[in-house]
C-alpha cells in the first residue's frame, strides 16, 4: 500500500496556497475600470518605454524585406500582414483627426484584454491539468481494449492519475458557467451585443448558445467521469475475483472499447467548444485531433514521471526499466504525432492563405512568435533528440528531463491556443499565469497521490499480469 508522505502533502498544499494567493493577486491587480488603463498607458508613455505593439515591430520587418532580400513583388501577392487600419486600432500609429476615437477604442480594447487575463490564465492552467488525466484514461482504456501484455503493472498508477478527472472536470465546468454568467469575456460569442453585429456568429448560434454549450460540457465531463468510475471499479473488483475468473476483465474490455468510441466523438466536440469557439470565426477540421495529441502525450509523460517518482521512493519494485523504455517510446512517438498534426494544420492554412483562416496564424506568429515557434522546439526537437537513442529511453533522469520539457511545451501549446483570442497582444507570463499553474499543480499532485493510497499499487488476477512482470525488451 502506498501512503502519501507528509513531505509531498505539505509540498502540494504549499503549492496550492501560494497559487491561490497569486491568483487572487492577479485578479486584484487587473484593472477595474477604463481610467486605470488610461493611467497605465500614460505612465508607460511618460517613462518612454516602448510598449511593444505589433505595428511597430512590423515596420522593421517590412524594411528588412525591402533591402535585405531582393524581393521582386509577385503580382499575386496577398497581404496577410496587418493593414494600417488595423494597426491604428491596435494603437501603433495614432495621428490625424480620428486619433482620439481610435485611442479610446484602443484603450477600451486593452481594458477588456487585461480584465480577461487572470481568467484566461486560470482557464489555461485548469484545462492543461484537466487534459492530463483524460489523456491517461484514454491510454488506460487502450491497454484494456488492445489487451496489452506489458502494462498491467502500471494500471494502478494510471488509475490514480485519472482520479483528478472528476475534480478537474468540475473546476472547468464552474469556469465555463462563470463565463456564461458574463463574469468574464473569454467567449465573445456569449455576448449578445457581439453576436448582434456579427453575421458569422449568428449563423452558428444554433450550436454556439449558452444552454446547449453547458449541456454539452456536462455530457462530456459526466460521461468521461462515469466511464472512469466503472473502469476503475471493475479493476478493483478483479482484485477480489476468484483465480481464472475473468468476468470483470471481459467487462472492462468492453467498457474500454465503448469509452474509446464515446471519447473520440466527445473529445473532438469538446475541443471545438472549449477552445476553438474562443475564435468563433475560425475553424479547423483537425483541431480535435490536434488537442488530442497534446493531451495524449502529456498524459503518457505524466504516467512516466509518476512511475519514476514512485520507484525512487521505493514503491513499484515490479516495474523494470523496460516499462520505462516503452513509456518513453510512446512519449517519443506521440510527440512526433503532435508535430505532424501541428504542421498539417499550419501548412494547409498558410499555403492557401484564405483570409478568414489565416488570421488565426497571423496573430499567433506576429504577437506570439516566440511561444508559437518555441513550443515546436520544446515539443518536437527536444523529445526527438533526447529520446532518439534506444539506451536513453531507459535512463530515468533522461526521461524525467524530457518529460518536464514536454509538459512545459504542452502548457505553452494550450496557452497559445487560448490567449490570442482572449488577451490578444497584451500577454505576458506573469503572476496570474504562474500562480494558476502552481495552484492546479498542487491540487493535481494532492488528488492523484491521495487516490493511489486507497488500493495496492499492483493489480491482481489480471490475466496478463505475469507477462507484464516478466516484460523485458
Amino acid at each position: 500500500m502506498y501512503t502519501l508522505s507528509n513531505k509531498l502533502k505539505l509540498f502540494s498544499i504549499i503549492l496550492m496556497v501560494v497559487g491561490l494567493i497569486g491568483v487572487a493577486v492577479g485578479f486584484i491587480l487587473a484593472p477595474a475600470n477604463i481610467q486605470e488603463v488610461e493611467e497605465m498607458v500614460a505612465n508607460q508613455e511618460a517613462h518612454g518605454e516602448s510598449h511593444a505593439l505589433p505595428g511597430e515591430t512590423k515596420t522593421e520587418n517590412d524594411g528588412e524585406d525591402a533591402n535585405g532580400l531582393e524581393v521582386v513583388p509577385s503580382e499575386h501577392e496577398i497581404h496577410t500582414e496587418r493593414v494600417d487600419d488595423e494597426r491604428a486600432v491596435l494603437g501603433a500609429d495614432v495621428n490625424g483627426d480620428e486619433a482620439e476615437a481610435h485611442d479610446n477604442e484602443h484603450i477600451e480594447h486593452l481594458f477588456h484584454q487585461l480584465q480577461n487575463k487572470p481568467w484566461a490564465a486560470l482557464y489555461v492552467a485548469a484545462f492543461f491539468f484537466f487534459m492530463i488525466p483524460l489523456g491517461v484514461l484514454v491510454f488506460y482504456a487502450i491497454q484494456y481494449a488492445a489487451q496489452a501484455g506489458w502494462s498491467p503493472v502500471l494500471f494502478r498508477v494510471m488509475e490514480g492519475i485519472t482520479g483528478y478527472l472528476l475534480p478537474g472536470g468540475i473546476i472547468i465546468f464552474i469556469l465555463l458557467v462563470l463565463s456564461s454568467l458574463h463574469l468574464n469575456h473569454l467567449f465573445i460569442w456569449m455576448d449578445p451585443e457581439v453576436v448582434e453585429h456579427d453575421p458569422i456568429i449568428q449563423n452558428k448560434t444554433s450550436f454556439l448558445n449558452v444552454p446547449f454549450f453547458l449541456i454539452r460540457a456536462a455530457i462530456y465531463i459526466g460521461g468521461w467521469a462515469l466511464f472512469r468510475h466503472f473502469l476503475v471499479k471493475n479493476s478493483h473488483s478483479l482484485d477480489e475475483a476468484e483465480p481464472n475468473d475473468l468476468f470483470y476483465f471481459k467487462k472492462n474490455f468492453k467498457l474500454a472499447a465503448g469509452f474509446l468510441v464515446f471519447f473520440i466523438v466527445t473529445e473532438s466536440m469538446m475541443s471545438w467548444d472549449w477552445i476553438m469557439s474562443l475564435d468563433p470565426h475560425w475553424f479547423s477540421t483537425l483541431f480535435g485531433w490536434y488537442v488530442f495529441a497534446s493531451m495524449f502525450v502529456s498524459g503518457i509523460t505524466m504516467i512516466a514521471l509518476v512511475t519514476i517518482y514512485l520507484k525512487s521512493r521505493g514503491y513499484l519494485l515490479f516495474v523494470n526499466n523496460s516499462h520505462i523504455h516503452d513509456l518513453a517510446k510512446f512519449m517519443f512517438g506521440i510527440s512526433i504525432f503532435w508535430t505532424y498534426l501541428w504542421f498539417s494544420q499550419f501548412m494547409l492554412i498558410w499555403y492557401s492563405n484564405i483570409p478568414e483562416e489565416v488570421t488565426y496564424f497571423v496573430t499567433r506568429i506576429e504577437d506570439y512568435g516566440i511561444l508559437f515557434f518555441g513550443m515546436v522546439v520544446l515539443n518536437f526537437l527536444f523529445p526527438v533528440l533526447l529520446l532518439m537513442n534506444s539506451d536513453f529511453k531507459r535512463v530515468n533522469w533522461f526521461v524525467v528531463m524530457t518529460g518536464i520539457v514536454i509538459l512545459f511545451g504542452h502548457y505553452i501549446d494550450i496557452y497559445v491556443m487560448v490567449m490570442p483570442a482572449t488577451v490578444g497582444e497584451s500577454w505576458f507570463i506573469g503572476i496570474p499565469e504562474i500562480s494558476s499553474l502552481l495552484f492546479f499543480a498542487g491540487l493535481f499532485i494532492f488528488v492523484i497521490f491521495s487516490s493511489m493510497t486507497k488500493v495496492p499499487l499492483l493489480v491482481k488476477r489480471n490475466p496478463y499480469l505475469k507477462e507484464s512482470e516478466h516484460f523485458h525488451y
Binding site: D65, I78, Y351, N353
Partner: protein
C-alpha cells in the same frame, strides 16, 4: 586446414536460448546460429556486439534531408522560381513550409533504402545468391546451432549438447 563443427538442432526458441546460455557458460565457441525467424534476445545471449545499423541510418537520413533542401532550393527557387500560393519568390525560407513534406519523404526514403542496402552489403547478400543454411529445416521449424569442436573432446561435447536439449546432432568435418 581441417575444422570440425557440430550442428545441434533444436525445436524450440526458448530451448535454444537456454542452450546458448549454457554453451557460453561452458566456454564452447558458437560459430553461427540459423533460425527460421528472429529470436528475441538471441544476440544478447550470444554476446554479439550491438548493431551499428541505426547510426548509419541516422547519417543517411541527414543526407536525405540535405539533398531535399538543396534540390528544392535549386528547382523551386533558383532555376525556375515558382509562385507558391502568392508567397514571395526567390526566397527559400519564406517558401520553406511547402517543402517540408518533401524533406520528410526524402529523409525517410534515404534512411530506409540506404539502410537496407547497407544491411545487404554487410551481410554479403546480393540478388540470386544461393542460400547458405546447412539444413533446410532451419527455414521451417528447426533451430541450428553450429559449435566449433576445436580442441575439445567430440564425445563430451556431443553429450553436453544433448543435455542442453538438442534433438539431433551432426558432426561436420570440413577437410
Amino acid at each position: 586446414m581441417a575444422s570440425k563443427v557440430i550442428h545441434a538442432l533444436y525445436t524450440d526458441d526458448d530451448l535454444l536460448l537456454q542452450a546458448v546460455r549454457q554453451v557460453k557458460e561452458a566456454r564452447y565457441h558458437i560459430g553461427e546460429i540459423y533460425t527460421p525467424f528472429p529470436v528475441h534476445g538471441l544476440d544478447k545471449a550470444m554476446g554479439l556486439e550491438p548493431t551499428r545499423l541505426a547510426i548509419t541510418s541516422f547519417i543517411y537520413g541527414v543526407i536525405g534531408f540535405c539533398v531535399a533542401v538543396v534540390m528544392m532550393n535549386y528547382m523551386m527557387i533558383e532555376d525556375w522560381p515558382m509562385d507558391i500560393g502568392g508567397k514571395p519568390s526567390f526566397s527559400f525560407i519564406q517558401n520553406m513550409p511547402s517543402f517540408v513534406p518533401i524533406m520528410f519523404e526524402l529523409t525517410v526514403f534515404f534512411a530506409a533504402h540506404l539502410m537496407v542496402i547497407t544491411f545487404y552489403l554487410r551481410s554479403k547478400l546480393w540478388p540470386f545468391k544461393l542460400a547458405e543454411n546447412p539444413d533446410i529445416r532451419t527455414t521451417d521449424d528447426h533451430f541450428l546451432m553450429e559449435v566449433e569442436v576445436a580442441n575439445h573432446n567430440t564425445d563430451d561435447l556431443t553429450k553436453f549438447l544433448y543435455d542442453t536439449g538438442a534433438s539431433e546432432i551432426k558432426l561436420i568435418d570440413n577437410k
